[in-house]
């Protein structure tokens, strides 16, 4: 892994054949970050299930207090948000100016879905606290608050990143280095979605 040349350099033009060339989306460094995070969460999944072994009855009782519908709506919100980012990546190189101009709109839509996730998470937490449930209530709720809280923290980082991508997407052209960053940012947002795709079943659904 050597330093990435961020400045303009002659772009390797792909051959006109239909065969796809293998390439790294984003920068190499982005993947250190993304897989690092994914591995940490993998450890959390195991730690959570390991804690469940010692108290299956307590975990089942506490899990019944969760609102699965909030979790499901949030999953769909993140999926819609991810779809908008997929669409952004599809139009960012469009030669059609009208399509190209949709990129910032799609990013804004993705941001709103992400913000919606946080609002619902806020309602969910408020409901728990209203019923006197805090991280100190039980092991299950400690894991519930810590894991969903850490995920929400990643989501906040992702929302900040989307603001940067929004600004970048309004530029008429992106340099090769800027595009690599842009693509890496999109992948980070997909990772936030990906982690929730496991956290939701793990905490809310698996009985």
């Amino acid at each position: 892994m050597t330093d990435i040349d961020l400045e303009a350099r002659p772009a390797t033009t792909s051959p006109p054949s239909t065969r796809r060339t293998r390439r790294i989306p984003g920068e190499e460094g982005t993947w250190i970050f993304i897989f690092g995070d994914m591995c940490v969460f993998a450890v959390f999944f195991c730690v959570f299930l390991h804690a469940r072994i010692s108290d299956p009855v307590g975990f089942a009782r506490d899990q019944a207090e969760l609102n699965q519908n909030f979790g499901a709506i949030n999953t769909v919100l993140l999926l819609v948000s991810s779809l908008f980012i997929v669409l952004t990546m599809r139009v960012i190189h469009s030669s059609n100016a009208v399509m190209r101009a949709k990129a910032p709109v799609f990013i804004a839509a993705a941001w709103l879905c992400g913000a919606g996730f946080l609002v619902i998470k806020g309602f969910e937490y408020a409901e728990k606290v209203h019923h006197g449930i805090t991280p100190q209530t039980s092991d299950f709720f400690m894991y519930y608050f810590v894991l969903t809280g850490l995920h929400a923290f990643h989501l906040v980082l992702g929302l900040a990143l989307l603001v940067v991508l929004f600004v970048m997407s309004r530029k008429p052209e992106l340099s090769k280095g800027q595009f690599a960053f842009f693509e890496g940012g999109a992948c980070f947002w997909h990772m936030v979605d990906l982690l929730w795709l496991v956290l939701f079943p793990l905490i809310f659904l698996v009985r």
Partner: protein, 259 residues
């Protein structure tokens, strides 16, 4: 006949870096084997049990504190070299990110040196009232794990310089772009430490995965990789100096106009 180029700076940086690494290794050994803080005692131990731990290990913990007294400031030499190398690649005026890292290194040393002092004090008169020993012990551990922000300043500085396009134009640069992403990730992982004031069991307790194990191992990983990058860059800087035969002035001063 031209004077031979002086390699005093590069040689000094290498020596100081080894000095810091050596101190770090000794500190780690004392922390693990003499003070027995890896893994640390559970946070939900009773005062009596903590006092017993200190009575049983009184001699070993006090000698651990002695050794930490000689080695606890190991981040100062390491980060002095990091900051000098940051200043080398930080173009465009005041070396503010390098300065921030230097300050971070100086102050984080306090929080690495203080905990062994508290534990040494707890073991110093281990026969006293158990509540007092337990209190001193708690201050020591909480000082160690909750002082994240001093590390964060350093890593944000490193991240900014790594991700700045102009840095990558400097030859023999110890801050490649991927290192910025890794440092940023470690920064985020470190932020969990301060939670240790709240729970006594689980992921966020002072012996938990997020508060103790991940910061401790990532700290070691960061020092190891950054040292390797620095040694590699220093080798290149020396070779370049010898090849071009200049006498001290930085050879690869990048164009200020770039940024």
């Amino acid at each position: 006949m031209p004077a031979a180029p002086s390699l005093f700076s590069e040689k000094s940086q290498r020596a100081i870096l080894w000095w810091g690494i050596g101190l770090a290794v000794v500190y780690a050994v004392a922390l693990i084997f003499l003070m027995k803080m890896v893994p640390p005692p559970d946070a939900d131990w009773s005062a009596e049990r903590v006092a017993e731990f200190y009575r049983d290990n009184s001699t070993s913990i006090r000698w651990g504190a002695v050794i930490s007294g000689w080695t606890g400031a190991f981040m100062m030499p390491i980060l002095a070299v990091v900051a000098i190398q940051m200043a080398r690649v930080e173009t465009g005026g005041a070396k503010i990110w390098a300065a921030l890292s230097l300050v971070s290194g100086a102050v984080m040393s306090i929080w690495l040196a203080l905990p062994p002092i508290f534990w040494g004090a707890a073991a110093f008169s281990a026969d006293r009232n158990p509540e007092i020993t337990a209190m001193t012990h708690e201050i020591g551990l909480l000082t160690l794990v909750t002082t994240d922000q001093f590390y964060v300043f350093l890593w944000v500085g490193v991240t900014v310089l790594c991700l700045r396009p102009a840095t990558q134009l400097v030859k023999h640069n110890p801050f490649p772009r991927w290192w910025g992403y890794l440092s940023l990730w470690i920064t985020i992982m470190f932020e969990a430490g301060a939670f240790a004031f709240v729970p006594k069991t689980g992921l966020l307790s002072w012996n938990g995965l997020l508060v103790f194990w991940s910061p401790l191992s990532l700290f070691g990983v960061w020092i190891s990789i950054q040292s390797w990058l620095l040694f590699r860059a220093l080798r290149g800087q020396e070779a370049e100096k010898l090849a071009t035969g200049t006498t001290g002035a930085p050879v690869s001063e990048p164009a200020e106009a770039l940024l």
